[in-house]
């Protein structure tokens, strides 16, 4: 047991910290399109510095970092205040999924442009009537005589769709097969008129997410990943990767905010109020436990292979704590936190999505009950 960074890890951290201090994306511009371009440039810079695919194997152009180093990467990135790279879904989900399921040709073709942010990736799993329920996916892909597919249907909660070249799409290729069977995982070219993107405005007023409307969208045969009818398994690989890396960044982001709120409370004298201190104490405690539990999960992953369903625990813990923090900030910060355009008001509103996106807390608790505790499937 060694709960501090080993020398190589500390060296990695120091090197990265130095690089992040010397390099950054520059000031954030106004407007969503400009912000996206800014994050894309930032990824190019990360890529040039060798920091884009830290957890990718060297053979695929990555840094071959260990899991701990990868965690450190997201921690330090969050601590630096710099944004996530633009192609975060390609880096965290798309690339690793291809590494497991892709053909050599697919790896050759797709991996490098993910790293360089030349081609942005998005994810087309959710549908309006299949929020948490994969088995209910209705989007249909019909095989054509030439082996290509024509896809029709609707997807939702697709972030970055308007900037993406490729969509990781799950569609039904066999409507006769029951439930999870009959699904196939595709890479769909977003640059065709048969794919329409409509932004979904959130309660914050921003649109991080989109709806996709597909009408006879064309996907060539070679863009099937992992074989026709195997989509459920391939998608699971993507989902398993989803929660691992980002957790460390989110936890540091939470830590930064809790520290900031502590400082505000200290400055305005509220820290003297034992009720305020009690709440802050609880937040600090939860955030630290989140960090430790995430690292415990890493150790388990290193020992037993695949990231396990324990990731559900950290996502659940983080989202609940972030909601607690932002609501509490409304009391501590006062009117500013209830005024549009301020950091705290944005966080207060945005936090409501945390317990929904990437698996609702209800679904995560089901997962914990069934897969970690082994209880019978919920009725």
């Amino acid at each position: 047991m060694d709960l501090t960074f080993a020398p190589n890890e500390a060296q990695f951290r120091d090197e990265l910290r130095g690089w992040l201090a010397a390099n950054g994306p520059g000031p954030e511009p106004e407007g969503e399109d400009a912000q996206y371009a800014w994050r894309r440039d930032w990824q190019r810079k990360l890529h040039e510095g060798g920091w884009a695919g830290v957890h990718w194997p060297v053979e695929y152009g990555g840094r071959g970092a260990t899991l701990v180093e990868s965690a450190i990467f997201y921690e330090e990135l969050a601590r630096s205040g710099h944004p996530l790279p633009a192609n975060v879904l390609g880096l965290l989900l798309g690339g690793p999924t291809l590494m497991v399921w892709g053909t050599d040709e697919q790896k050759e073709r797709y991996l490098t442009p993910i790293l360089s942010a030349e081609e942005i990736w998005c994810q087309g799993f959710s549908e309006p009537d299949a929020g948490s329920d994969f088995a209910a996916v209705k989007t249909r892909a019909v095989e054509q005589p030439d082996g290509s597919f024509r896809v029709t249907g609707q997807k939702v909660w697709t972030s970055g769709a308007q900037y993406s070249k490729w969509c990781m799409l799950v569609a039904r290729t066999d409507s006769g097969a029951a439930k999870h069977k009959g699904l196939t995982y595709f890479l769909m070219d977003m640059g065709q008129p048969q794919v329409q993107v409509r932004p979904l405005v959130q309660i914050t007023g921003e649109s991080e997410f989109n709806e996709l409307f597909l009408e006879d969208a064309v996907i060539p045969a070679e863009n099937v990943v992992g074989g026709v009818g195997n989509g459920w398994k391939v998608a699971l690989t993507t989902l398993m990767n989803e929660r691992a890396g980002l957790a460390f960044g989110l936890q540091v982001r939470l830590r930064v905010m809790i520290d900031e709120l502590t400082q505000i409370a200290a400055e305005n004298g509220q820290l003297e109020d034992p009720r305020v201190a009690d709440q802050l104490g609880e937040l600090h405690l939860r955030c630290e436990i989140l960090r430790l539990t995430a690292y415990r999960g890493l150790t388990a992953t290193m020992k037993y292979g695949q990231p396990g369903p324990e990731g559900s625990l950290t996502k659940w813990m983080w989202s609940e704590t972030n909601q607690m923090l932002t609501q509490f900030a409304a009391d501590v910060v006062g009117p500013e936190a209830l005024t549009m355009g301020t950091k705290w008001s944005y966080e207060l509103l945005r936090a409501r999505g945390n317990t929904i996106e990437g698996g609702t807390t209800e679904i995560l608790k089901n997962i914990v009950a069934e897969r970690v505790l082994g209880l019978p499937k919920a009725k």
Binding site: V201, Q202, I203, D331, L349, R352, N366
Partner: protein, 343 residues
């Protein structure tokens, strides 16, 4: 002991809810929230119906009814999330009627009661009231300082700068009074008016909670996942049950507070603190739960739930949040216990 409304009160409630359902559906609320305006047509209609002055004495041009009737209207307005500045006028009138001089009453109450004038009440310290609901467009402002003193100032004597609060269904303003000579301290004790105002704000929160619950119940009966309505999942049903629990608890407390204001003022201070604490915590919790139980769609601008959530955030903080009022409940209860003597 009878919790039932009188026939007249039932009638007021029925009429108010029907009127607002017809005149202020969410489409209308959205239109005004997005434009940053009040629904003036609705405001005028409500003024003609005498709503702003329902609790103002007849001698001042009001309807001479009680806080119970005002609470019925404010709950209905909260339920509709209506984009009208009525609450500001009603609260200002409460202060002026309870604690104003007869000159002040004569000057402001008839206009506030008829809707011809508009009022606002705000929390003020060190010369600034940073976030006053209904301030923009108000004719008269009542500003409460942290020591419980209230001052009256005509809008003409103050600077009112619009503020975009996260709640876009009301027009908020930052109020600065450069020349405090233009302000009149309300002479009489304002604590009773403040207690009434707390109950009145609680009523709007109860309305928002109720609407959040109703929308959620309808949605989860309809929405299917895994082949069944999501309302059949215990995780959903139990959360909805908790919403009911929070809504009904706050409603019991608010009705009791309003009744105490009208009929048994000795009970008002504790009742008001309980009402505001319960409705504030309940309003935050129920509107957040409604978003959660709607899943992804609940987090969209399109879904209308956020009007309720945002308004509940502002109303929960206004005139003291849950913590402030729990502390008052504790202090008042400790006094009662001490007075009751030894154990």
């Amino acid at each position: 002991m009878n919790f039932d409304f009188t026939e007249d009160q039932h009638e007021i409630r029925r009429t108010a809810r029907e009127l607002l359902a017809a005149r202020s559906p969410f489409a209308r609320v959205r239109e005004h929230a997005e434009a940053g305006t009040y629904d003036d047509a609705l405001s005028q209609e409500l003024g003609e119906l005498g709503w702003p002055g329902i609790a103002v004495a007849e001698e001042h041009g009001g309807q001479g009814l009680g806080l119970v009737e005002l609470v019925i209207l404010l709950e209905a307005l909260g339920e509709a999330c209506a984009a009208v500045p009525l609450r500001g006028s009603a609260l200002a009138a409460l202060f002026i009627e309870y604690a104003g001089s007869s000159d002040q009453q004569a000057q402001w109450l008839p206009g506030l009661a008829s809707g011809a004038l508009r009022g606002a009440v705000g929390e003020w310290s060190d010369g600034v009231a940073p976030l006053v609901p209904d301030a923009v467009g108000a004719d008269v402002l009542v500003l409460l300082d942290p020591d419980g003193m209230a001052s009256l100032v005509a809008a003409a004597d103050a600077s009112i700068e619009p503020v975009n609060a996260i709640d876009p269904t009301r027009r908020y303003g930052k109020v600065v009074v450069a020349d405090e000579g233009g302000m009149d301290l309300l002479a009489a004790d304002t604590s009773e008016a403040l207690r009434c105002a707390e109950v009145a704000v609680a009523a709007g929160l109860v309305g928002a909670s109720q609407r959040a619950l109703d929308l959620t119940v309808a949605y989860v009966k309809d929405r299917k996942q895994f082949g069944v309505p999501i309302g059949s999942f215990q995780a959903v049903g139990h959360k909805a049950a908790q919403m009911l629990f929070d809504t009904e608890g706050a409603r019991s407390a608010t009705l009791f507070g309003a009744w105490a204001a009208d009929a048994d003022q000795d009970q008002l201070p504790l009742a008001a603190a309980i009402a505001k604490a319960a409705a504030s915590a309940g309003g935050r919790a129920t509107t957040a739960a409604a978003i959660q139980l709607h899943g992804g769609i609940g987090f969209t601008w399109e879904a209308d739930l956020h009007w309720l959530y945002k308004r509940a955030q502002l109303d929960a903080a206004f005139l003291g949040g849950p913590g402030t009022h729990r502390a008052r409940v504790a202090a008042l209860s400790a006094e009662r216990v001490a007075a009751a003597g030894t154990r």
